[in-house]
Symmetry: C2
Subunit: 451 residues, 2 copies
Amino acid sequence: MMTRSAPTMAPYHENTAAFRDGTRTPRDFLEACIERITELEPSVGAFVSLDLDAARAASDQSSARWAAGTPASQIDGMPVGIKDIIETADLPTKMGSPIFEQYRPWFDSASVSALREAGAVVVGKTVTTEFAATQPRGTRNPWDLARTPGGSSSGSAASVGCGMLPAALGTQVVGSIIRPSGFCGVVGFKPSLGALNRGGSLDLLSQSCTGVLAASLGDAWLTARAIAERVGGDPGYAPLAGPDAPPAPRRPTCVALLRTDGWPIATSDAKAELLRAAEALRAAGINVISADDTPDIAALEAALPEAEPVTRTINAWEWRWPLNVFGRRDHAALSPSIQERMEAMARLTADDYVRALQRREEIRTLHARLLAHADCAISLTAPGAAPVGLGSTGNPIFVVPGSLLGVPVVTLPKLADGGLPLGLQLIGYRGRDADLFALAAAIEQIVPGAY
Amino acid sequence: MMTRSAPTMAPYHENTAAFRDGTRTPRDFLEACIERITELEPSVGAFVSLDLDAARAASDQSSARWAAGTPASQIDGMPVGIKDIIETADLPTKMGSPIFEQYRPWFDSASVSALREAGAVVVGKTVTTEFAATQPRGTRNPWDLARTPGGSSSGSAASVGCGMLPAALGTQVVGSIIRPSGFCGVVGFKPSLGALNRGGSLDLLSQSCTGVLAASLGDAWLTARAIAERVGGDPGYAPLAGPDAPPAPRRPTCVALLRTDGWPIATSDAKAELLRAAEALRAAGINVISADDTPDIAALEAALPEAEPVTRTINAWEWRWPLNVFGRRDHAALSPSIQERMEAMARLTADDYVRALQRREEIRTLHARLLAHADCAISLTAPGAAPVGLGSTGNPIFVVPGSLLGVPVVTLPKLADGGLPLGLQLIGYRGRDADLFALAAAIEQIVPGAY
């Protein structure tokens, strides 16, 4: 059953002229979102909590700021969803776990604090898998309710994917933004490592990032920049840098096609779709190279099968605390998958961890060599469309490399598999997030959509 | 008024044979601590909270484990204090701020979780300045109640300094472990950046570290290792590595004497004391070199005046969140010094921050060159003894370099100024914490104490 229709609204930031001249208000925009939520939320289940009264009140304040010519930012009044591992002072934060059922944070996380300062309207908390790991919490894919929306940012992807919201926050340590964005047909942005402040989020792993899922590239950029401007990046990291407006399109000279070790298990539709995108780029005069052409790409491709095991080792070590204290509070409330993870954790040594950190650095160095050859890399976001069933969030094989590398990644809803969405993943270079958006804006124009 | 007498007990780890054969128990050790607390706490004010009943119960369980030959670690039963920015599930964590007066964490922080797993007995939470910044909270120096104990780990230093506890946790981003350790006559250990897991601590700045203040080098090492073994370091960092037992003494071949830009304002007593330590090392056949002998040291000394401004810029940017959300909750509850800091924060740009990060890296590179010349560096911990008055925690000029550099630092209570304690600061190299302890153990034997 396909419940999604095309988004009924232009990107939020394209309404700002109307907000200024009063022909439309942020409250109008919000009401359209609420209508969509009312219609679809009962079947999709994207939210853990909603506070529509508070959202309406905040929206009216925003409408007044626009009318007075004093918006706090270009996203003043934009309805947003917040992944439920990101703390909010006015809404519960349940972390996808019954252990946190009664938890009430005292403060807004850094990203939420920044979004509120920018005037964005927090509509609700979106469903996350347990601790943003693998155990799903029931959200359905709005394109086909029998399928997973992906995870761990399940509710953020599903809500944006069916036009309930123009943008939502997610986090990614393995594939938690890019994979569900692909499955739900939305733009996903995982920034460079540390580029957006994760403070106040249960998002403690060394390669994890806060990022944005959005219906448009422009809203994704503006949301991310609103955070970086106000609360910076993680301590010790350069904040996301770039223009105040969405970066103008910049046509790449050369793009690297990464097959990754996911290629042998990808569906023939999915493979054909990535090759279709590559052909469209070639037809536009852009050079597309691969491991067959370039030893540096071949060397990276040869290392990428390690991305997932290296990531799992690093994450497992870094999860020892806090999972052990969660388990001490209520072990039975942890899912079997988390309990298994804890057993694996207990077998790891500090030496295993340090070796995995070193290997991660080596693979990052291999990737950095691509800069001499290609403006960015392209790949799939998953071996195929979202799998049937709600028991798994899908295979992360295509998305874990971008997480391990710590580089910016954008996915565009350009591909399809069996009529369902799949993402065209664009992989950039550390610290060059704005450039990746400029490339993505050009590629968005060049590659025809599949649906 | 000097209230301190020499510690009545040997280091905790030297009691373990007695614990095993039953001639002494951890409970006996705890009761001696409690006696000291009962005597001195009313005048010193080292604790925010104490839970002696819980401590006694935990201590009895430890006594039973030792009697059964199954201690959880070498510090099983050791009474410890926890700086009150480090979260504890069973005791309030007030962060030195009235804003957190009613705050009750749900979980133990990583370090506390590890110490409990190791069998250590949490006696209470020790006084911190407001948010571990500069506003003192009334703790007095046990060597002279009219003076500051230093900060921000004020209660940890004071409690160990008068024999209430063998060890306590502290944190340092500018000088918050090494400075109060010097003022209170205890061993202080600030590890390499990231070597001890800071999870669950209001300790969010990029050069901040969890560390240990202790009455002996051995207990400091064992406490730190107990944490690293169980919860590792910060995500992305190699955990503190080294032997299970306190590292055996290793005599340095050469030591670099760092005067730093604090030298011109140091008291003549303090300067004479550092030179006395240098002479003792020379008399033992150890080469002591300085900026006068070695251009690499001169280059580092020339850069060290930047340590404090660069640190202030980095910290101010990294404090924007969470201080802004604290202020939104109750601005009037913030001290004037924090309010001033927030005004400075608001003037900073992301470019200022990124430039400061780059300069920090450059100064770290300058320091790393000393490895070719010297086993470690020595310096003072402050320009003189703890200042009179409780309004300031003292000048951090001698301790900020070690924080900026991200290297391990140990201070030994070997020097004096006007009959009051001052530390001999030993500055090591990143990741070589165990070696610094080995050098410290040798230097401890070579340099005579001043009191």
